[in-house]
Symmetry: C2
Subunit: 366 residues, 2 copies
């Protein structure tokens, strides 16, 4: 049997992860297990169900992965026992046996910073995630997250404003992008980054898989940035995992009146590093930080669009922070009714977004 | 010479504070110095100018303080050598020789929490200061601050919503309230708390006196709460003094986009306790915390006023957080123009205040 098939088969051993497999095999190369007979395998401690995998591997299942790799571009599977398995991920308590990859799998070797946070983040949290991710990318880091809605999505998007790279770790198989609303984002990530999953390609998204996914997000990364997390939140679990994995935990503070940052404040109180800008992250990793050119300021279609239109007093009155309608009216010297009409046009053209406190410009900056 | 005059005279010894006076006198009661002759004083290390104070005290100056005490109610002077000099203040490196008091000087013995912050605070910072001060008061603490504009004023006001107590430490003499805009506030504090100064009653406000004042604010207190402070700010000096005095330092976090909280974030990074509610302060002082009845909810004239008017859809649409005008219109189901008209009336009647992001209710809560 091909070694690539053997690598897949090792992941099918019932009740046996990387850790216990290594305990059983010690110095033996696990691929040689396929050459052993029943007695030899039993003497190493493998049970009947496990021995069956070595003796009669489920070929159809293994071939389906081979087929999956042939069916699309840039698909690969990296085994724990491969040389290009990411070194940091090897260090964690329960490393995945396999990494199914779609995109540029060399990125797994890049210095990564994870970004996680509330799925129901506030607009300000989302903008912060996007800005920090963009700036991390500009300084040579790959931003790793979980492709969830909210902070995850904005983290990936922020990296993509610079053409990536960004890594999304899925809690489902790579054929089953979840949530569906992020299918387009996942496509961009395949082009400019990498989708990763420890789950076989057609695995549906099941709840218990998402916390497991989180250990890979932090396990791949030097540190984890938590941008908005409520008092009890999955992001706090990721932060705890990160701390257990000896990874840095960074948390962004916010207004004490915003329940979406209670978790971040809790983390800071427990020792996470309070960060207010990307510089606070960079100073922890001087060995990796570089400076790239900001490509979002070049050849921006949005910029061209703006160049072709006359100055817009309503747009000019809206900041990159939430700007309330009455302030827009005051600044633009227009009536509230006139302003409301034009806000709709600007929102439809994507130049501003509505938030609970007013409107925010979307162009350029992030 | 009366002992009260002697106590005042000790503060007039040139270039000799409490610390060096104690070094010179060791076990000798400093009041007996007035009975010694030139040779005896010189042998203790006093110079000619200092000896002159013992031998020929400036009686007119001392009598002017006696006159000042007679001229107003509840005026007193407490000397470092008096039994009712506050014990915590005695511990600091450079305790004031005298405390000129106006109001209830017994409050100096009460457990105090200091609150400091930006003079140019944001509306949200001011509301936080007011709310925390009110809640500290409800839990039996005396809120101590510096009577400056911004956070200081709102801290005092928050305590006064409960009838006090609150202590204001001045950087000028008690006859020279500064800033003038706080004269009315100072009057309330005299009635429901205490004004304190180490400066003689007619001392004008000079810049170097304000940092000196800060050491007393923190020196009187168990801990110091910093609510909004820019990256370089006097409040950070107070926080540093507090830490040097072994007092707790608490800091309120905020949005990373608000430059007015950069100082708080810096303090948290340096080890100050991040607080999001009064509970985070109370848990440090279980021995002092009690629970009083919230008197701002009883017999409130504003409440009576509201009882007499019919339900107001605009007022009801405004929260204790900044509420933007378009949200108020949406909630009240009125047109923006109608809302704007009524907002003006509500603002003039003091039921709401305008902030940069919309409007905030002022009644009850704080």
């Amino acid at each position: 049997m091909e070694r690539s098939f053997q690598a897949l088969a090792l992941d099918l051993l019932p009740r046996l992860g990387v850790y216990r497999l290594k305990q059983r095999t010690k110095d033996i190369c696990p691929f040689t297990l396929f050459d052993l007979n029943n007695g030899e395998l039993a003497s190493l401690g493998f049970n009947d169900a496990q021995i069956r995998v070595f003796q009669q591997p489920p070929m159809a299942k293994l071939e389906s992965v081979q087929q999956w790799m042939h069916d699309g571009k840039n698909r690969s599977v990296i085994s724990y026992f491969d040389d290009n398995y990411p070194a940091l991920l090897k260090e964690i308590a329960s490393p995945p046996m396999l990494l199914f990859c779609q995109g540029n799998d060399a990125l797994l070797q890049a210095p990564q910073v994870a970004m996680v946070g509330s799925r129901a983040a506030t607009i300000s949290g989302k903008e912060t995630a996007k800005r920090l991710a963009k700036e991390l990318t500009l300084h040579g880091f790959c931003v790793t997250s979980g492709l969830a809605t909210g902070i995850d999505s904005y983290a990936h998007q922020g990296a993509l404003t610079q053409g990536g790279p960004t890594i999304a770790v899925l809690g489902s198989g790579l054929n089953v992008i979840y949530p569906k609303s992020n299918i387009a984002l996942a496509k961009s990530i395949v082009e400019h980054g990498l989708l990763v999953s420890e789950f076989w390609p057609n695995t549906p998204p099941n709840a218990p898989q998402f916390p497991r996914r989180n250990r890979i997000v932090s396990g791949l990364s030097l540190g984890v940035v938590v941008v908005e997390a409520a008092g009890r939140s999955g992001s706090l679990i990721t932060a705890r995992l990160a701390a257990e994995q000896n990874r840095d935990v960074f948390a962004v503070p916010g207004s004490i009146n915003n329940p979406k940052v209670a978790g971040c404040h809790k983390l800071i109180s427990q020792g996470a590093k309070l960060i207010t800008s990307v510089a606070d992250i960079l100073e922890e990793y001087p060995q990796y930080a570089i400076v790239k050119e900001d490509i979002s300021k070049q050849h921006s279609p949005a910029l061209h669009f703006v160049d072709n239109v006359k100055p817009d007093p309503v747009l000019d009155s809206i900041g990159y922070e939430t700007t309330p309608v009455d302030i827009i009216a005051q600044r633009s010297k227009l009536s509230i009714e006139q302003v409301l009409e034009q806000l709709l046009t600007l929102e439809l053209s994507g130049l501003i977004i509505s938030s609970s406190g007013g409107y925010i410009r979307t162009k350029e900056g992030v």
